[in-house]
Subunit: 335 residues, 2 copies
DNA sequence: GCTATAAATGAAAGCGCTTACATAATACTA
DNA sequence: TAGTATTATGTAAGCGCTTTCATTTATAGC
């Protein structure tokens, strides 16, 4: 592989000049620039990004920590992030945190040791305190899908409370008054926020959430099916069930069918997230759209702006969910 | 950030010694090793991986090019790859090729310029010739899900022909004799291979594929729904349709429902890939399992073995698909 | 105890760039 | 046209490591 030195020799200029035309920031005369370009071309020169990084103290790489690499959710997110950085000539180093504290902390450490210029973190298990400590180190980071008061300026998040509200409010507007709720793990903020939105919507109709119509699931399919069974077993009648995410909603749909119920004739089901398969379920799932791809883009832009000083970029930090009405919700029949 | 130099000073040894304990390959006396370790600990030293790479001419990073980052398929693949490398302390740089020649070539160039030690390529649009040329450059690569004769030792692929055979053979064994086929884009090798398998299975029963029962789709949902409509419109009766992937199968399922048909009562549907949502469709899709996560692992291990010389690792290059029988296929009623 | 050998450590030269800083070339002013 | 301000280019000192080779120190053999 040709080095900058060979290029400089061929072009008959100094190392510095070659470097200058590469970074075309400083003025170089047209004549020499062309000579250098020609030499590069001729040698098939490709800059050594490692050497560039060492010398400039910039790795041009951004570390991404997501919970999982598979699953409908993270894929969308990564797509948004990669597209943005690729266009900017930066690259992305990816690690998975698996929603566990130790793995997440290790992942961050791993990314840090890779000299990333910045980190985009989608962490769930790590404590706020840990993140606050981390913010004191030199590597900047954005938090995706997490709200930490003290780090508000680096958070990009969805208004989960609003989403929760929208879901239940929609059901209420369709005449439902007995609404069951299958929550996510309540140690997760988003699970809690969504439930709060649910409560607020109920309150708007002078209603309150009932313990008997509440089940704490795990954000996974089985959580939804078990949840539905538990709800049904409680003996408390309901005409609709809102699930805190689409996986659980799908589980609920399957369980309903297996138990001989028909959705939405017997009861309605709402999901949350609008992941790709929500469209493949039967009936097609009514849900709340989570603009995760857009949020991924935005996280990348935050980095471009804050770290690479591309000041013209605008950054939006809080995103609003919105309702996607499909086939799993029907009007309540008179109770 | 502390450097190796400060560590060496604190420990009262030379740079070289510190470097040696870091790479703990050369003999260092217990006493000095402990002194150095203590000094590192005390300074919170973390090696600068960029400098290491420059000096050692190893970036410890592997470039991955996939068609998309989202979608059920690639996520699984990436998970397998990441897990393997993370455990080995290597990291992964990811780019998306979007199934287009130019983007794929750009992506490879991008990864190459990042000084990756090796590449894992899941490319579709790039020519065999391009890959053969690429193989002459110094950066080694594996091909995932692609079979190039001249590069056979670097290919990790699924026996698609066998998969195609399995799908149709299963239908035949269930008594179906009029089997329609919705293919992928026939310029893709896997689409062609799957179809060949279909033909071979038919031949086993003295049958042949009929033009009227063939539709070339695009591997996407709409391809499946349009395909089913076209097939139905052809007027040629069939009791089963095999789709070259699950997305199209799902599209076919939806179209069938919308047109008033019931699956599998009116006709059976087979998918291919066994992506996550195949489980969420209604009826649950019978399909062919594509062990993509295992193949991702294997690609990573190929790199570990060939590039990082971890000779103890065993590598499997061709994987066999197998049948997943769920609910979308029923026995043929007497015709 | 003295030499031959092996083991542990140090000195120093890069790896391929960036970037002050110094210098040379050119343009502008009066 | 000398004097100054600009602009273009070159020189060389790192960036933080690895690694070869030389040197020192310990170990063993007789």
């Amino acid at each position: 592989m040709a080095t900058i030195y060979q290029v400089s020799e061929l072009a008959g200029v100094s190392l510095a000049t070659v470097s200058r035309v590469m970074n075309n920031n400083v003025r170089v005369s047209e004549a020499t620039r062309n000579k250098v370009l020609a030499a590069m071309e001729q040698l098939g020169y490709r800059p050594n990004s490692i050497a560039q990084s060492l010398a400039s103290n910039r790795s041009n790489s951004i570390g991404i920590l997501v919970s999982e690499l598979h699953g409908p959710f993270y894929g969308e997110m990564l797509t948004g992030i990669e597209a943005e950085f690729r266009a900017a000539g930066k690259h992305v180093i990816i690690a998975a945190g698996h929603s566990e504290r130790v793995t997440e902390e290790d992942g961050i450490e791993f990314l840090l040791s890779r000299n990333c210029d910045a980190l985009i973190l989608h962490v769930e298990a790590v404590s706020d305190q840990f993140l606050i400590e981390l913010s004191k180190q030199e590597t900047p980071f954005v938090l995706l899908n997490r709200q930490v008061e003290a780090l508000a300026d680096r958070c990009i998040s969805l208004d989960n409370e609003l989403g929760g509200f929208l879901a239940t409010d929609y059901l209420l507007s369709q005449g439902h008054r007995h609404i069951a709720y299958i929550a996510g793990p309540m140690w997760k903020t988003d699970a809690r926020d969504r439930f709060r939105g649910h409560q607020r919507a109920l309150a708007g109709y002078q209603l309150a959430a009932e313990d008997k119509l509440f089940y704490e699931g795990d954000f996974r399919e089985t959580g939804g099916s078990k949840g539905l069974q538990a709800l049904l077993a409680s003996g408390r009648p309901f005409s609709a069930v809102v699930c805190a995410n689409d996986e659980m909603a799908s589980g609920a749909l399957t369980a309903a069918r297996e138990l001989g119920y028909e959705v939405p004739a017997d009861f309605s089901v709402m999901g949350f997230d609008n992941v790709n398969f929500a469209y493949y379920t039967y009936p097609k799932l009514s849900t709340i759209d989570y603009p995760i791809s857009a949020m991924g883009h935005m996280a990348a832009r935050w980095v471009l702006k804050q770290v690479y000083k591309q000041s013209s970029i605008a950054v939006q930090q809080v995103f609003d969910p919105h309702l996607i009405a499909r086939d799993s919700v029907a009007e309540a029949t008179i109770t």
